[in-house]
Structure formats: structure tokens, C-alpha cells
């Protein structure tokens, strides 16, 4: 037992010092591609740290969001902004001072904290015991995290879904460009010539995409029993589609995926989640009171959780796709304008 604890704290020390090292490297580096890669690794190591802490649900989310999709999105961004950071002349003395004060305050704050994992820490004695002891009778879901997120604190989760929806709408508002259909074929031919080089990747990933989607559905419906749920499933599902876009080009993907439909699905997910709450209102309960959804409270809880997770999955997946499509569409827009400018300057030289 003693030895197990020693190894665990050793693993923690290694993981945490890796995190600090990577964070410092990210700050110092000028090569943005390397920074994005390091950010992805940072996400993955945080996920491993969460696993060691037995927070597998959080780890799963961090792995799929922090290490997965956000790395992808940042990669798309650096294709537009260029690979290296501009050198800055000014010395950010004030900023360093503020950061040091903030960091110092945070360290000061840790002095009176209860020890990690202490049995008598307030977080283990006040609210948590009911979740641990009663949730099986009250909610009837083996995964306590799901019980808390989807039932006890369902309204927070609803808020989180709306946050993601807002992010998608924000990207739509700022980055969406009006496409001219007659130019699609030109871009198609450019893309085709580019993608010919990635034949092996194309074939392998084509084989993988169905399995990724299947896994997403498994995560979606297995959230009650193991780590997972709508958030992770949505991200995984979206990444299957993003993989397709990466290898087959935006214009091909547009033929498969209708942009307007995706927006509607994003809206639908939020509405669907909210409607579960409205139905409980109509059945005489409070908002998100799943007990009244069915004659048997436990069955009602099961039904409620299943339905809202479905809403979460829909919104998360479609918002991720919206964000990626708009980022990539912006890149395409830039390229197209760049080509135009090139052509004009060539003509001018000719004259």
C-alpha cells in the first residue's frame, strides 16, 4: 500500500513538471506550429493527470477537446496567420508584475487548503455524500458524474450547451463568407491536384471514419454507465467529419454536408434539451424534474438523461463542424482573393 502511494505521487510529480515545462516552452517559442503541437500535448498530459486523479469523465473531455479538436482548430488558424510569431520590441514589465502577483496570491491561497484526498475535507463531507450514497436510488445511473451533470445540476449542463451554441453563432456571425458557386469548380480542381498526393492517407482514413462515428455513438449512449456522454460524443463525431474535410477538401465535403442543415441541428439540440425541461413543467414538475416524465421516477430519470444527452451531442457535434467549416472557408476565401491579386499583378507586369 505504501509503495503504491509512492509510485502514485511519483507519477503526479512527473506529469505536473511536464505540464510546467510545456507551458514555459509555449510562452518562449516563436514557431506557432510547434506551439500548437505543444498545446495539444499539454491537453493530453492534463488528461493523463485527470486519469490518475480518478476523474475519468473530465479526462475524456480534456482528451477529446483539449488535445483533439482545439489543436485542429488552431492548426487551421495558423494556415491563415502564418507560422511564426512577429518579434515584439516592448518589454512587458507591468504584465510580468501582474502575473507574479497573481501567481503569488494563488500560492498563498494554497497554504490553508485541505490536503488532497483528505477524508474530512469539506468537499467530501457536505454535498458529495448524497451524490455518492443516494444517486443510485434517486437517479438510478451507475456513473455518478453523469447523475450530477445530467440530473442534479442539469441546468448548468444546459447552460454549457448554450455556451457552445453561442460560440458557434459567434463564429458564424464573424467569419462566414458568402460563397460564389461558379468558383467552386476552380477550387475543386486545385484541391484535387493537392489531394492526389495523400492517396494512402485518404484510403486509410476513409476506412476509419465509420468506426470513429460508431465509437461516437457508443460514447453517446454509454454515458450512463461509463465515462462519456453528449459532449465527448459530439466532439468525436465532429472529428470524423473534420477528418473527411481535411483529406477530401472543403468543396467535396460541402456536397455531403449541408451548411444550413448543420445550423438547424445546432439550434435543434438546444431546443430539444430545453423541451425536456418544458415537458416536465407541463407534467406538473419543476423545470428539468425528470421524475414526472414517466410514471416510474427512475424510468423518468433514465429517459430524461438519455434525451438531454442526445440534445447535447447534436449541438456539440454540429457547432464543432460549423466552427471548422467557417475557419476553413475563411482560408479558402483568402486563397481565392490571393489568386485574384496574383493574377492582376501578373497581368500588370505583362503590360
Amino acid at each position: 500500500m505504501k509503495r503504491g502511494e509512492l509510485i502514485e505521487s511519483l507519477i503526479n510529480i512527473v506529469l505536473l513538471s511536464l505540464l510546467v515545462g510545456i507551458a514555459i516552452a509555449i510562452v518562449c517559442m516563436k514557431d506557432l506550429f510547434a506551439v500548437v503541437m505543444l498545446a495539444g500535448i499539454y491537453g493530453l498530459i492534463s488528461a493523463s493527470f485527470f486519469v490518475v486523479m480518478d476523474a475519468v469523465d473530465v479526462a475524456f473531455t480534456e482528451a477529446s477537446v483539449g488535445a483533439g479538436i482545439s489543436t485542429l482548430l488552431m492548426l487551421v488558424v495558423i494556415t491563415m496567420t502564418g507560422r511564426t510569431e512577429h518579434p515584439t520590441r516592448h518589454k512587458p514589465l507591468l504584465a510580468i508584475f501582474v502575473v507574479v502577483v497573481t501567481g503569488g496570491l494563488l500560492i498563498y491561497g494554497t497554504f490553508d487548503m485541505p490536503y488532497l484526498g483528505a477524508i474530512d475535507a469539506p468537499i467530501h463531507t457536505h454535498v458529495a455524500p448524497r451524490y455518492i450514497n443516494e444517486s443510485m436510488q434517486e437517479v438510478g445511473v451507475p456513473n455518478i458524474v453523469t447523475a450530477v451533470l445530467a440530473s442534479y445540476r442539469a441546468f448548468d449542463t444546459f447552460g454549457e450547451v448554450v455556451v457552445i451554441f453561442t460560440a458557434g453563432i459567434g463564429v458564424l456571425a464573424l467569419l462566414s463568407v458568402v460563397r460564389r458557386r461558379d468558383e467552386d469548380s476552380v477550387i475543386d480542381s486545385i484541391n484535387d491536384s493537392m489531394h492526389e498526393q495523400h492517396l494512402i492517407l485518404r484510403i486509410v482514413s476513409k476506412m476509419m471514419i465509420p468506426f470513429i462515428m460508431l465509437f461516437a455513438l457508443y460514447v453517446q449512449f454509454h454515458g450512463d454507465y461509463g465515462p462519456g456522454g453528449g459532449f465527448q460524443a459530439g466532439v468525436i463525431f465532429a472529428s470524423a467529419i473534420i477528418l473527411y474535410v481535411l483529406l477530401f477538401g472543403l468543396s467535396t465535403a460541402r456536397k455531403v454536408i449541408n451548411q444550413t442543415l448543420i445550423q438547424l441541428i445546432a439550434a435543434f439540440g438546444v431546443l430539444f434539451y430545453g423541451c425536456v425541461g418544458l415537458v416536465s413543467l407541463l407534467n406538473g414538475g419543476n423545470f428539468f424534474d425528470y421524475n414526472v416524465l414517466s410514471s416510474d421516477p427512475i424510468a423518468g430519470q433514465h429517459l430524461g438523461i438519455l434525451l438531454i444527452e442526445w440534445g447535447v451531442g447534436c449541438t456539440v457535434a454540429s457547432v464543432m463542424i460549423i466552427i471548422f467549416f467557417n475557419f476553413a472557408g475563411r482560408k479558402e476565401f483568402q486563397q481565392r482573393n490571393g489568386n485574384l491579386i496574383d493574377n492582376i499583378s501578373k497581368k500588370n507586369k505583362g503590360i
Binding site: 454535498v127 448548468d156 424534474d289
Partner: protein
């Protein structure tokens, strides 16, 4: 259905946002948004009535009781705030369709309304909830939509302004989250009521001190309190006019609400004001804010910038009232919160009308507008008088209460300073009046006409509110007084030390 009013207050605009995306047709979306905002306003009126007559309303979301589930807790303070937010939102929306026609490209109109509703939802959610983490979730909704709304401005500098706001706002939100996390670690609960009971036990720990510091600094970033205000002027100046009118009247008010809520209800007066030297810090920063921001406002050439700096100065008045930490002081702050919302929404909406007609709000472009847009300019003058605090306007009422609160404590020098601050307001308001009424019209403005009726109606509703509530002060004063008394009743009950500091 009446039992469910607290949650409907937030859910109605929330569910309407994705519905807008499905409706698609712009005219329809606008009418629908207006209708939804109107319903939200109605709900808030009912809630305020209910709270004033029968006390705090508690609503358990999901049917789980408080520390385990999330509860909505509507008392006099947040019912008042809900009324302000939904009221302003509804009036401003009347002018929205006309205004954004010239400021936002056609294909983004639907998205604009979706974001507007989300922003409204976020603010209402922050105010209605009784759960500290739930505050953070809705703060994210309101912030994200605010960044996008500001970036929609016609001027390309709007993007930079939104980016600055994004960085500052995210730091603020993260600080609040860190604070909430530390509080959870020390108490094991996220419910505000429960926190207020469990925090005194651990009040002397360094962790709780850190938690308080992070929460307060985070909120002050959001509320653009004097040294942390740098994001605000550009964000207000380059955002679409409607967005500025809506945010100037509501967004910072929500942050003030959070400051009051966390200081008085969650941490309690004894912790915030007696163990920490907060009174002197807030008093000094508030006063500095009034003078620095008012002086800066005088030198602005863009009228939106001018009123943005004036907003920072007005926040200073609210902070001063807050720092007195007496019933009278808090009443003055709450009153000013209500009154400032009325003034600034009227002023920024009038600027929106100017923007609509002449496409600019540079001070030099205001030459002779007093004759060409008489009704709009008259509204700016009355709004300006209210800002200065002339009797018979709402501005006078709140300044009066603030002075009374200061004098009650015997702080004469500070009372004089507050009066001097108002003199600065006269200077910057006069600069606009001078331009509009005492200079000849510009040749390029020969064809400029009065603003369209869709602008004039909401502007004058707000102007009349400025005058009406300046004469019949019952609504504002009664609610503000009741709210601050109830906050003190809760806060004072567990301590006696306060008596000394009063």
C-alpha cells in the same frame, strides 16, 4: 404557471434564440425577438410584484433541493435588476431593425438577433440564480455573445475593440471561476445561501481570502471599475449603436449586482468590510474614477467615446455609494444603477439615430444638428441634464441620495467632491450642446432630416422615463430602499462590529 415564473424569466429568451435561427426571415425574427423581450419584461414585472408583496421566491431546478441541486432565488435586489434589464432590452429593440439596416450587412441580421437574445439570457441568468457556479455559466453566455455583438460593428476597429474585451473579459471570468473553485474547496458547496452560512467558519483562512480577492478583481474587470476600465471605451464606441445602447444600460449593471451579491450576501459585511480595508480602496478608486474618466470625457472628439468615458465616471458614483456600506449608500447605488440605465440607453439610442442619419458620431459632425434633428438633439440635451443631475430628472434623485448618504456619515469633503464631479459632466455635455445649437449647419448635411419614427418612439419613451422617475420617485426609491434594507438585515444579523464602522 405562476410558480414557474423565475425559470421562465430565463428560459423564454433562451429558447427563443435557437428558434430565431430556424425562423430565418429577418422581419419576422425582429418581431419575434421584440415579442420575447416584451414577455420577459412582463414576467419581471410580475416577479417584482410578487417579491415586494410576499418576499423571496425560491425555485428548485430539477426538483432537487438547494445545496445538491441549483436553485433560483429571487429577492428584491435581483427582481429589481431583472426589471431594468428586460425593460431596457425591450425599448431598445424597437429601434433595432431600422438601426442595423445601415450598420450590419443584410445576411447577418438573423444572427444578430440570436446573439442579442443570448446576451439577454446570459444577463438574466446571472441575476436570477442563487448558485455561484451557475453564475459563471451564464456569465460565459453573456460574454461570448457580447464579444460577437461588438465585433459586428461597421468600423473595422470594432474587431480590435472586441478582441481587447475578449481578453480582459476572459481574464475576469477566469478569476471569478478560480474564486468560486477555492470557495467550493473550503466549504463543499456552490449554493450562495449555503456558502454564506458556511464561509464564516473558515473566514480566517488564507484560501478564503484568496477566493474573495479573485472573485472581486474578476468582477471589477467585468464592471470596468476605474483602473480596469481600458476595454470599455472602444468596445462601446465601435459596437453597433443598438448594442451600445443595450450594453451601456445593462452589462456593467449586472457586474455591479454581482459585486453587491458576493460582498453582502455571500461573504457578508463583516468579512468584506471589517477584516479587509475595502472601504478605503473602493472609495478612493470610485472617486478617482469619477474625476479621471469625466476629465477624459471632456477631451473626446467622438461622442460615443465621450459617453463611454462618462459611463466609467458614473460607475465611479455607484462604487462610492457601495463603499459607504450603509443602507443609505447602497440605496443610492441601486437607484443610480436604475437611473443610469435610463439615461445612457436614451443617450446612446439618440446617438444611434444620429449615426443612422449622418453615418458618424464625431463631435464635429454635430454642427447645427439642433435645427435639423430637433427631437433627437432635445433628447440628448435632456439625457445630458439627467447625467449632470439637474432637478426634475432621475440623475438628480440618485445624486441627492448619494450626497445624503455621505453626509449621514459626516463625510463632507467627499460630498463636495461628488458635486465637483457633476461640474465636469456639465462641461462635456455643454460641448455637444454648443456644437448642435450654436454652430451653423455643415453644407454636407443640407439634406439631413429628423430621425425616423422607429427611433424617436423608443428614445422619447426613455426620455420621459428620465423625467417621470425624476418627479415621481416612488418606484425606484421604494424598491432600492427595500432591497438594500433586506441585504443589510441578512448581513448584519450575524455581526455587531458593523455598528462601529457606521
Amino acid at each position: 404557471m405562476l410558480v414557474h415564473l423565475p425559470v421562465l424569466q430565463v428560459i423564454v429568451p433562451l429558447m427563443a434564440a435557437p428558434l430565431c435561427l430556424i425562423l430565418k426571415r429577418v422581419q419576422l425574427v425582429w418581431l419575434f425577438t421584440l415579442l420575447v423581450s416584451g414577455i420577459a419584461f412582463l414576467i419581471s414585472v410580475l416577479l417584482l410584484q410578487q417579491v415586494m408583496s410576499s418576499g423571496t421566491i425560491i425555485y428548485e431546478l430539477g426538483g432537487w433541493e438547494a445545496p445538491w441541486g441549483i436553485e433560483y432565488r429571487i429577492d428584491k435586489l435581483n427582481a429589481f435588476l431583472l426589471l431594468i434589464i428586460t425593460g431596457i432590452s425591450t425599448v431598445v429593440l424597437f429601434a433595432a431593425q431600422t438601426s442595423i439596416e445601415k450598420e450590419i450587412s443584410q445576411d447577418k441580421h438573423t444572427v444578430f438577433y440570436v446573439l442579442y437574445l443570448l446576451s439577454l439570457t446570459g444577463m438574466l441568468g446571472i441575476v436570477a440564480t442563487g448558485d455561484a457556479f451557475n453564475v459563471f455559466v451564464f456569465l460565459e453566455i453573456s460574454s461570448l455573445s457580447a464579444y460577437a455583438l461588438i465585433a459586428l460593428g461597421k468600423d473595422r476597429r470594432a474587431l480590435w475593440a472586441a478582441y481587447q474585451y475578449l481578453i480582459m473579459g476572459t481574464i475576469g471570468a477566469t478569476f471569478i471561476l478560480i474564486g468560486i473553485g477555492l470557495m467550493y474547496q473550503m466549504t463543499g458547496t456552490l449554493n450562495m445561501e449555503d456558502l454564506s452560512q458556511r464561509l464564516p467558519e473558515v473566514a480566517q483562512t488564507r484560501t478564503v481570502f484568496t477566493a474573495y480577492a479573485f472573485v472581486i478583481v474578476g468582477i471589477c474587470l467585468k464592471l470596468a471599475m476605474f483602473p480596469l476600465h481600458l476595454w470599455l471605451p472602444n468596445a462601446y464606441a465601435y459596437a453597433p449603436s443598438i448594442v451600445t445602447a443595450f450594453f451601456a444600460a445593462t452589462a456593467t449593471k449586472v457586474a455591479i449586482y454581482l459585486l453587491i451579491r458576493f460582498t453582502f450576501s455571500v461573504f457578508g459585511l463583516s468579512f468584506s468590510f471589517t477584516t479587509l480595508p475595502l472601504q478605503i480602496i473602493f472609495m478612493a478608486l470610485g472617486m478617482l474614477g469619477i474625476f479621471v474618466a469625466s476629465t477624459t470625457a471632456i477631451y473626446q472628439t467622438n461622442v460615443k467615446h465621450l459617453f463611454a468615458y462618462s459611463s466609467i465616471a458614473q460607475i465611479g458614483y455607484m462604487i462610492v455609494g457601495f463603499s459607504i456600506s450603509s443602507v443609505a449608500g447602497l440605496t443610492a447605488t441601486l437607484l443610480h444603477l436604475f437611473n443610469h440605465a435610463l439615461m445612457k440607453s436614451a443617450l446612446f439610442l439618440a446617438l444611434g439615430a444620429v449615426m443612422y442619419r449622418i453615418g458618424s458620431v464625431q463631435l464635429s459632425q454635430f454642427q447645427g444638428l439642433g435645427r435639423q434633428m430637433p427631437l433627437t438633439m432635445a433628447a440628448i440635451v435632456i439625457g445630458g441634464l439627467s447625467l449632470i443631475g439637474v432637478p426634475l430628472t432621475v440623475g438628480f434623485v440618485s445624486k441627492w441620495y448619494l450626497l445624503m448618504a455621505l453626509i449621514e456619515n459626516g463625510w463632507w469633503p467627499l460630498a463636495v467632491l461628488v458635486l465637483l464631479g457633476s461640474l465636469l459632466a456639465i462641461v462635456y455635455v455643454w460641448r455637444i450642446v454648443e456644437m448642435a445649437y450654436f454652430k451653423p449647419s455643415l453644407a454636407t448635411h443640407a439634406n439631413v432630416k429628423e430621425a425616423p419614427i422607429s427611433f424617436l418612439i423608443p428614445i422619447w419613451i426613455l426620455v420621459f422615463a428620465n423625467i417621470y422617475f425624476g418627479i415621481d420617485t416612488r418606484l425606484g426609491v421604494q424598491v432600492a430602499q427595500a432591497a438594500s434594507e433586506s441585504l443589510f438585515a441578512v448581513s448584519v444579523s450575524d455581526i455587531t462590529i458593523i455598528e462601529d464602522s457606521l
